[in-house]
Symmetry: D2
Subunit: 362 residues, 4 copies
Amino acid sequence: MGNSFGHFFRITTFGESHGSEIGVVIDGCPPRLEISVDEIQNELERRKPGQSKITTPRQEKDQCEILSGVFGGKTLGTPISIVVKNKDTRPQDYNEIARKYRPSHADATYDAKYGIRNWQGGGRASARETIGRVAAGAVAKKILRQFSNVAIIGYVKCIKNIEASIDPNTVIAEQVESNIVRCPDVESAKKMINLIEQIRDEGDSIGGIVECVAKNIPKGLGVPVFDKLEADIAKGVMSLPGSKGFEIGSGFAGTLMSGYEHNDEFYVDGNGEIRTVTNYSGGIQGGISNSENIIIRVAFKPTATIRKQQRTVTDEREETILVGKGRHDPCVLPRAVPMVEAMMALVLCDHLLRYYGQCKVL
Amino acid sequence: MGNSFGHFFRITTFGESHGSEIGVVIDGCPPRLEISVDEIQNELERRKPGQSKITTPRQEKDQCEILSGVFGGKTLGTPISIVVKNKDTRPQDYNEIARKYRPSHADATYDAKYGIRNWQGGGRASARETIGRVAAGAVAKKILRQFSNVAIIGYVKCIKNIEASIDPNTVIAEQVESNIVRCPDVESAKKMINLIEQIRDEGDSIGGIVECVAKNIPKGLGVPVFDKLEADIAKGVMSLPGSKGFEIGSGFAGTLMSGYEHNDEFYVDGNGEIRTVTNYSGGIQGGISNSENIIIRVAFKPTATIRKQQRTVTDEREETILVGKGRHDPCVLPRAVPMVEAMMALVLCDHLLRYYGQCKVL
Amino acid sequence: MGNSFGHFFRITTFGESHGSEIGVVIDGCPPRLEISVDEIQNELERRKPGQSKITTPRQEKDQCEILSGVFGGKTLGTPISIVVKNKDTRPQDYNEIARKYRPSHADATYDAKYGIRNWQGGGRASARETIGRVAAGAVAKKILRQFSNVAIIGYVKCIKNIEASIDPNTVIAEQVESNIVRCPDVESAKKMINLIEQIRDEGDSIGGIVECVAKNIPKGLGVPVFDKLEADIAKGVMSLPGSKGFEIGSGFAGTLMSGYEHNDEFYVDGNGEIRTVTNYSGGIQGGISNSENIIIRVAFKPTATIRKQQRTVTDEREETILVGKGRHDPCVLPRAVPMVEAMMALVLCDHLLRYYGQCKVL
Amino acid sequence: MGNSFGHFFRITTFGESHGSEIGVVIDGCPPRLEISVDEIQNELERRKPGQSKITTPRQEKDQCEILSGVFGGKTLGTPISIVVKNKDTRPQDYNEIARKYRPSHADATYDAKYGIRNWQGGGRASARETIGRVAAGAVAKKILRQFSNVAIIGYVKCIKNIEASIDPNTVIAEQVESNIVRCPDVESAKKMINLIEQIRDEGDSIGGIVECVAKNIPKGLGVPVFDKLEADIAKGVMSLPGSKGFEIGSGFAGTLMSGYEHNDEFYVDGNGEIRTVTNYSGGIQGGISNSENIIIRVAFKPTATIRKQQRTVTDEREETILVGKGRHDPCVLPRAVPMVEAMMALVLCDHLLRYYGQCKVL
């Protein structure tokens, strides 16, 4: 258990980092949706390793195949299975860690729980698991776009202490993709790239914050009490590897305001729609979308794999030294952008289908 | 749907704020657990309105009854139904808002989604819904305590810009309960109380941050990928009314560190147990508990109900003015402490039973 | 776990046979449905003990109350809690069985699994648990009726070897309720009543078969593969106390036909609708309703509680004799009719909401 | 949705009959279980088409591959993905039915619900979907065998009106596999084979009954109320293509007995274990296994695909004639045996893990 996400647009991911393939099964996709391998591949390209000088040098094409659920270019309403074959597996890179637990990795806890682990590249704990999420997210994005032109745009807001200045309400996807760090603030982007290169050369790593906005959201997504829209989004992004914090709307900064300042007053817009003057709520009130932009932020810690010497223990409980070798990703943030977008898309799509029904939504 | 939480220790809450009663059904509680009404009532006392001068003046005894699932003082393994009768309901207080949407409340989104709402006191969107959570949380706490002496201690970390100095690793429950704001830092507590009183008298409200630590956690709770322990905790607390942000371990501040600084090195302690030197991970690695303290923080926005005039619209989409009347809670933080603890307990207990089995755990 | 049924119209039942109350929480009911206590009570009257000379003599009014989810006579879309207080509890009747396991009851297996049981009247294993199902079934029936005038009619098809002659396609509810055994074939009904009275006087019990038809079913309910409509109905009725067999359409008798005989040929009716000439499929093909009548049969074994002497063992594993005392139900069939109807209604309503959405269906 | 089964040992199947591959993802398998491709392939051989002269002549090797979840011959506790590539696909065989609905097939209902279908060989409604069930069932059987030597033995009890004489308590797997119809009563087997050959040559089809026994079941599997063990088994087998009826223990015949005759008296056996003298309950009481043999029967209608002329309609609602061509399976019963065994194994394994926990069970 634990390898499925969502209830109405439900995905199940499978595959180890250095196994033969990685994949996802999507259950609940609406029928008659046109979807192509290319649309999915486009998202995978944004997630794949080796895409630029500031990410992990692992070389993977991450070429996906659709194995079921699509017939004549259209979805059948049956499970869609999408897989990516692993190519650049180097089990030998992992000989040192077959016995030694890498600090702040999942090695020790997996062993404590399961009594066995695939020590090659982290197995299921690897960020490669997110291939299935991103692939399924591409399908979810298509559904959302088709339903009401929903746009989900994530970008790097901060790298370490470099904070970009970006207006979530006007940002467009092209700005995000205009540079390798996926930060639409060009000046900040340059500084971020420089910092990541410097850290990479030191064999160290850094983290940061991804901000993500979802626009053109229909009213009524999300349900009261436990399955509030923001609660499901929080679960989704907090299940991404390396995430340590989540905010929606005013977030932690909202605790510094008074109720009078923070309340989003209502008005009626030119189309007769009820809108809010401000959007400290972040597009969700009482757990239900109110059609304002949904805006979240996700904190990612610095990647655990580094090329510096650290203290650790073996699976025999002997203290030892780990000298990081192999390939390391100095900063996951540029690749975390499509991951966050995917989780946002999956949750929104799940609630869209919950609200409208699998067969009635499109 | 959406009124149940957890899979193995599964709770379903029901009841509107001004209906006849509020309650919870717990499904999956281990058999033969000794549990009394008093143990549950103790937690409800910490959550109930009117408990001090700095909370909502609604007068409720919130006396609970156990209606099923317990026989001779012990749980049967069958559903435990716990209810609290509503006493101090004043529907007349809500006449103004029968038609007017309160800013940053759930009124407008509920109406958009359901086409009907119980406008008396917010219905299900009221914080009264959390009675069921806190009652079930008391049972979860008992199970956790009995299993391995797990202690869950929440407290007010910040009220607006007043930040308390508290060591989560040494704080004890008695310190939390020693003052009405539930902040173990006595100096900060005084300032917080003063600030809340001032804001209350202004008819306004303020928010803050609850920190919560869980100690003596067994290794192995949580599962990889989507149902990571921190993802489930995030969902739990982000489903609390008014929460806008969540952090675990190093949280957002962790994005300012390098991997070398952030990684928690391993060592073997005097009992031969694998431990970490630091705990930036916050007690969870790869989604699985590592036996270090689990430490989280939750941001609560200022309460939406205030006694100041605001712009809003009616359910007929006419712009109007809302003059806040009735009772208002200037700061939910002291009462949010048991709510956060309850959600932490519910998630931990759910994963404990997932790991050990309902009938085998105790 | 195990006390909830359905995913979209989800019910959770609670309460022991001789506890203070029995109830159900319905999660997912569409909003704005008019529902009254009387409509629910009408169904409970058909299920309640003591309703005629041929059922259990336990005296219960089984008066229900709605405690949440309804406001001004209409559903809110929030959880509906319905309870019935237990009145005629006689724990003293059960002194003998506090230690002795009743043959073919759940006493021994509950004790083996939970190490504790409420021995008063069977606890959760009592047919009293079905109060919650029947109450929720009344709400489900209302939704189905409102959606497309769905009618669900169950009746007693067989008592022991007395088989009634009934055409499921023309039978109406009034015929079922015209006699105390709920068999629309008047001649057979008389024989059945006589047989039950004879068996009752012997202190023994008998079983039989309930047949149930659902009419005016919209096309498209049910989903392929595991959640086929008939699979969910089978689970529902096989979870009723005492059921030992289930059939749909041609059932076991269908195994005696050839494919050429059994296949339901298609034609187009006067309204341009695709229909089948015969209905051996029982209204479901490929797991999905085809708008023909859904027809099922459920076998109920003779009730386990009898007033005859039997061999058994104690919870200390000593062999002993059990002399049945207390009240016994010679034949559950008349009361099983509303139970089967309820499970049919719950499954159909669950799939209706799955297909159309909670808020969009009505 | 609807393509997953089980909660603790959860399988998700995917793939269309004539797509590129068919497969299953198993989530929740215990770690450290030794499992080989051969063990899974052995079960698939019993299910595969073309295995004898009395089954469908489609030629498929149905060779499976394990793509994830196994490392060094042992399960990791992560999702196990198993696939079979489709080889003998003949889309041209299906040209006639691209437009014409086959009687008693899922064609019409799929189209009504989804507005699209893969008309090549039935898509997901094909019995090929059960490859995933049988593959996962092989893993479930291994777990059950390892836990307490559970043996699950299915066999053909009836073909049309030929009923075999078999003692479920003494039957062994070798007897089942000794002939191509999988009926351990050799005399009946011969008659069955002759009858199937005759029907095959007529271009028609026949059905029958599979009986299945599960031995060495631990006490305590199953939970009260809705998730009774027999209810879950009923759902499992009623989700198999072509099943029309289900019985457990005394089944429909039990309705002809009195309570005194039907009750299973208790005694204490030589090992001090509580046992029942008779087993009309079929190994389950109150929804929970009592360690007696679990015995079920499943009715399968005659296969819908025949080579005879029948009336039908097109997807344009025009009446027409369908002349069955292509390959047809005169009797699915021999191949249904491993399918029923698989569903029994999946349900038992699901409840075993629910009771003991994924990581604690082995």
